[in-house]
């Protein structure tokens, strides 16, 4: 066996001690009729063969394109120290810190993670981590239902579509309702959450609202009227659940400043690689009064019998292994190592470094906006953005595909993520971060200019057939 130590002599000695002639006897409880059919899997591979296979598989992915793709997860520079520390076996091969006396390393790092996220969000309480931004948002919405004993939440269409879909799936379990708040269709606020619609939706006395969920920046990259949305929610007795991007919080107003009751979001931008979907980091935070509603582990500071400061998992009466069917959530395993990555990342770059990441992304994005507009693809909206925005491109899906052949990953064709929204049919969502270079922008703008010109040619009467 690949990693086991047992020799045939060891196995014989163990069988003798047990008093069985064959290991098959140990499986005698499996009824004859239920024994497994033959396991049909490829033969074992040596580490050398396995490494070659995995190397080749990884090379079948193409990660060499100039990329402007964000849409919820972002390419950032990750200082070398982050992965060096994550590779400490004492961290990554430890279990959940159920024995605090020999888990103080994990426990203190979680407490420090909670503290850093509390600083960033301004919230009182931060969970030890949730799965990802989508599930943290779904749990945040469920918290609002438990806290208000109401069964309906309003979710802005500016929230990431994966989060909205996940929330709907989670709500499908109970008899809870999630209604979507539309976006403003036209004018200077186009693309942001429609506050007038929100006010109307909150006004229905027959269907009281538990929580209002709005993201800042929104999925479309726009800055949302969080303070106003929060005030409307509170006036109707609902909680305000804000979905945030942690790097942006270095420069943008934190959820606490606009009265959010729950803050959630995707922690991936904090030193966690893209890795085709995860593992990422669900950030879930709340105000103190909601501490007994928050799902997942919490680490608190305490003392040992000798009076030494120490850390321990606490308020565990919310959790599934204690409360069983009455638990706040079924979550058990979370994303502890990703929370550690985020902490090391924040420690490595510091508050000024984080501000630089956010501000440099904003600066690069402004350069990108200018270059793409000159190439013939102006912004789709006019509301302020930080480092991500939608551009108007004729036949966007086709252009996006053709740009791949020119080595450019031109963000996300929004029709793929939001197929039901006709206003986004001819739009690409693009972002810049601190790793975006002037050269990248130039390559993109030039290629896009050519493609738009081509689309223009194709659209002229009589030429389309020939060109195809």
């Amino acid at each position: 066996m690949a990693y086991g130590p047992h020799t045939d002599e060891d196995r014989a000695a163990m069988r003798k001690a047990i008093g069985v002639a064959s290991v098959d006897e140990l499986f005698a409880d499996i009824p004859e009729a239920m024994r497994a059919s033959e396991l049909r899997l490829p033969p074992p591979e040596s580490e050398a063969e396995l490494a070659g296979r995995l190397q080749r598989l990884s090379e079948r992915n193409r990660v060499d394109l100039v990329s402007f793709l964000g849409a919820g997860v972002y390419r950032h520079f990750i200082p070398a120290v982050v992965d060096q520390i994550l590779l400490r076996g004492e961290f990554y091969t430890a279990y959940t810190p159920y024995q605090p006396e020999i888990s103080q390393g994990t426990l203190q790092t979680i407490y420090e993670y909670q503290s850093m996220m509390a600083e960033l969000t301004g919230m009182d309480v931060v969970s030890a981590s949730h799965y990802d931004g989508a599930t943290a948002t779904a749990e945040g919405a469920l918290m609002s239902c438990r806290a208000t004993r109401r069964g309906r939440v309003l979710v802005s269409r500016g929230v990431h579509p994966h989060y909205r879909q996940t929330l709907c799936t989670y709500f499908g379990g109970g008899d809870l309702v999630a209604d979507e708040i539309p976006l403003v269709a036209e004018g200077p606020a186009a693309g942001t959450t429609d506050l007038a619609a929100l006010e109307r939706m909150l006004a229905d006395p027959e269907r009281p609202v538990a929580g209002v969920v709005v993201a800042n920046p929104s999925f479309l990259g726009l800055l949302e009227p969080m303070a106003q949305a929060g005030r409307l929610a509170h006036a109707a007795g609902a909680l305000f659940v804000s979905v945030v991007e942690p790097v942006s919080l270095a420069v943008l107003a934190p959820p606490s400043s606009y009265g959010a009751d729950v803050a959630c979001g995707e922690g991936q931008p904090l030193g966690i690689p893209l890795a085709y979907g995860g593992p990422y980091l669900g950030i879930l935070a709340c105000r103190e009064s909601l501490v007994r509603q928050i799902p997942g582990r919490l680490v608190g500071m305490t003392k040992d019998v000798d009076g030494r400061r120490a850390f321990v998992m606490t308020l565990r009466a919310r959790e599934q292994d204690i409360r069983r069917e009455k638990a706040a959530s079924n979550i058990c395993t979370n994303q502890a190592l990703c929370a550690l990555a985020a902490s090391i990342y924040l420690g490595a770059i510091g508050p000024h470094g984080l501000r630089d990441v956010a501000a440099l992304g904003a600066a690069r994005a402004a350069e990108l906006e200018l270059a793409l507009a000159e190439a013939g693809a102006p912004r789709l909206h006019s509301a302020p953005y930080l480092n991500e925005f939608a551009i108007r491109v004729p036949n966007a899906h086709e252009v996006h595909r053709r740009l791949l052949d020119r080595g450019v990953l031109a963000g996300l064709a929004l029709v793929e993520a939001e197929p039901d929204d006709p206003s986004l049919a001819d739009a690409l969502l693009v972002c810049a971060t601190e790793v975006t270079t002037a050269d990248d922008i130039e390559v993109f703008a030039r290629a896009l200019c050519d493609e738009i010109e081509r689309q223009h040619q194709l659209s002229l009467p009589g030429l389309a057939e020939d060109a195809r």
């Binding site: 430890a94 006396e101 893209l274």
Partner: protein, 499 residues
Amino acid sequence: MTAAGDRLGPTLFERSHPGRGGGKIPHPPKDALARIPADQLRTEGPNLPEVAEPELTRHYINLSQLNYAIDSGFYPLGSCTMKWNPKVNEWAARLPGFVSLHPFAPDELAQGSLQLLWELEQALAEIGGMRAVTLQPAAGAQGELTGILMVRAYHRSRSDLERSEVLVPDSAHGTNPATASMAGFKTVSIASASDGGVDIAAFRAALGPRTAAVMITNPSTLGLFESRIGELLDAVHAVGALAYMDGANLNAIMGRFKPGEAGFDVMHINVHKTFSTPHGGGGPGAGPVGVGEKLLPFLPSPRVLRESDGRFRLEHAGERPSSIGRIRSFAGNTAVLVRAYAYIRAHGASGLREVSDDAVLAANYMKSQVAGVLDVPFARHCMHEFVASSATLKAETGIRTLDVAKRLIDLGFHPPTIYFPLTVEEALLIEPTETESIETLDAFVEALRAIVHEAHVDPDLLHSAPHSSPVRRLDETSAARQPNLRWRAMTGGQTPCPD
């Protein structure tokens, strides 16, 4: 674990000095944020630590040394399966082609990852005897939720709307009843039979037109194979309910028992147990779910598909309307799944069967040795883990399982899972796994023997254990009464959160 001394250090916040650190990120132009409206900007920066790289590194390395881990020693934590985490898997998960791929990358850029995920689905389906597998759930508990939501969708699709109950044995993991509640079902807890197994008669009595599903862990949380599982599955299906298998203990039965073949309709798998992906101090894991024919239409979206030309793609949004929908963002905890894939390819069919055989052999060997030291309530052969109990020891000396566990720390071992399952008094759930040598297993039993001796001659030593760990027993009561859940710059560790 060696003797401690005072090895606890300050928090990263206490190490902070304004002006330290930096040099990682280029500086932005001064006017970078000039276009952002003032009311959107933060007025006061977050109070995050400022430390230089050497201090930062030492902070974390010193913290790491306060942890016990598989890399440092034997970790017989029953039900958690702390087996060896192969090093090549860490290398593989960090290959640039895997690490740098954006989850919204078009399928044509993602063929390597999609192929890996597809092959892993096939392999897990084969191991579980299932029709198909989704890899999306982020952890076992989320896999359970996915499975039970599919059960709900199945009954609804048949307009069978009265099924409001999920039956769960009282020895089940806490996630089972918590999942049932989250999916909108009422949990009915069924007492175990005296031999530790499921009480078939009690289940039969509880089954009926209101039953949506039963959730069974097999082997059970007592480490016993439910030999009457066939009768139970027949009874469940006879009333139109579905059978959910908690696959937490799949590591015991690979190549011996395929739950799908036996008649289970749905099962989650904890890859961080059976397939050796690291626990990371509490995650990330991954909780793939396998389904039989009945639940196939309801799998969450997107699935990984293979086209007739051999290319792979993700299902489009809305492509399969019967799906329960999305249960998280993107395709799954892919980097964790790379490790699980590597583990399966390294072992192949013969190796996986050997994994289970050796895990069961080692557990029975330890059980035979522990039997002379502590109570071992169930005489029959166990699977990959077994329950011991300090009930007799407690009656004779007043020493409880908690004391035994804490004293094991002094003797260099991570304690087993304690007080679980809830159905056994003073329980210790011991799981050696297949990757520990016979010398290690013997040394652990000797440690238990020494502790039992101490219990008779010097019980105070045990009441006050551990003595050599970085900290000793903690004040968990005041931690919960006056929770201090975050560092506050002004008050530091002295003052709890304002209430």
